[in-house]
Chain length 287, copies 2
Amino acid sequence: MPTSSRPEKGSRRHRFKGAPDAGAGPPRPGQSRGRSGAERWLYGRHAVAAALNNPERVWRRLVVLAGEEAKAAALVAQARAERRGEGEGVQALDRPGLGALLPEDAVHQGWALEVEPLVPPDLDDVLRAAEIAAGRSIVLVLDQVTDPHNVGAVLRSAAAFGAAAVIVTEHAAPPSTGVLGKAASGALEIVPLVRVVNLARALDRLKEAGFWCCGLDAEAPEPLAALDLGQRAALVLGSEGGGLRRLVRERCDYLARLPTRPELPSLNVSNAAAIALYELVRGSPPE
Amino acid sequence: MPTSSRPEKGSRRHRFKGAPDAGAGPPRPGQSRGRSGAERWLYGRHAVAAALNNPERVWRRLVVLAGEEAKAAALVAQARAERRGEGEGVQALDRPGLGALLPEDAVHQGWALEVEPLVPPDLDDVLRAAEIAAGRSIVLVLDQVTDPHNVGAVLRSAAAFGAAAVIVTEHAAPPSTGVLGKAASGALEIVPLVRVVNLARALDRLKEAGFWCCGLDAEAPEPLAALDLGQRAALVLGSEGGGLRRLVRERCDYLARLPTRPELPSLNVSNAAAIALYELVRGSPPE
């Protein structure tokens, strides 16, 4: 068993050991070194602190509001002491100066970090980690969920409940910075966000690897709580408008619903994901 | 028993019968008839459709993207057939025209409705309804949660799980339109959003009315699932930054946690609220 590729429990990095170095990794499409403004920045206190604490995260500039320099310098010093010392240092700006670097409505809380993208984890990494994991593996699969608030919030809940990965379709998925990073509140550095070209094919591979795939569907006869999804489970959630696409739904071993009032609008997808994760772990809380 | 003041189950209105007429009600502070742009508009398909279906909602103008007129006219005709015929009709605009009416980042989905504020329900209405309700009454209490996305998402989950009300502090709470209405996805018309001046006093009144008040707190020793909160329960959630304020925490009968990994950032407040609601109703789903 290749123990060198086993992710450490509670580790703050999201890449699996053995993956290529972040700095040497190929930039993702649309995320080249020269990509434009919005996709270069993480912002928000938790998102920035988590990125600084992630040894796999290459960053360029930490920019804070004037008055936060001491706190920022301490964070950077601590991060540097533990790793390879990327980053060019701390810059303090006034509010208009910081705002000018970020999208207009960015909720930055006085903290912004110019970063390189993480090396994108792939499905092989997730399946390998599940293979050697001692305990339970839960992954979340999002079918055409494109709102970065929602994808970020799902990552955050995935981290809180110890999920192994969040899988999204490459097509139309939001970039892994900005709004998504803020909503993830640091979870972007912890939970692998896997982008795949073909979600149905990804479900096939999860099933081959022993995952039971359960789609959430308000019309399903069985409540999620009635199912035993065993040690390896994939929860599949559709977009709020369209639900699960037919090809995705047909790949699921089970369909299940949450016990909401049938005549009312459905739950927000990140809330549905949080509840489903809770339902799966409530008998055996994550470590 | 004054059956005339009993809210109908599954009713789409959120006001309690016996409350003064919406049109005659006093405008809320900051929401006078002459209030400025952003606070006059609901937008998003679900939010607009639910408002048109709410007999208590007075509206002025329905504005849709060109091409949606037929659908819009049908909705308005149906709404008119069932009620008093407020509203001046449907206007179709192109994308820049519709966008100019709304805040820059409004996710309007081609639908916007100029509305009057609902008559704000008060705590007396909620307590009276709980007094005469046959089944369970659950209310959510939000301590200094100011992000309209979060308050809206909590309302949406409250509707989905049949909660009786969401209670917020009047101070710093977002207006009941725009982002909040969009995130609530129609639930603003269904679940009373009660604004109180003093949250600690509101908890005292809930306790006097037989509600067990349970604060969610990541440091609490007991998981929420271990508590039996009985027929009347108030779930109290704090802001993500500060948690529950001391005066609010001290009013709670219980403190409980959700089973998340202790070393990681907390859940988003709307996700925590959704999970807590689910935990309370999963044994006895709402009707």
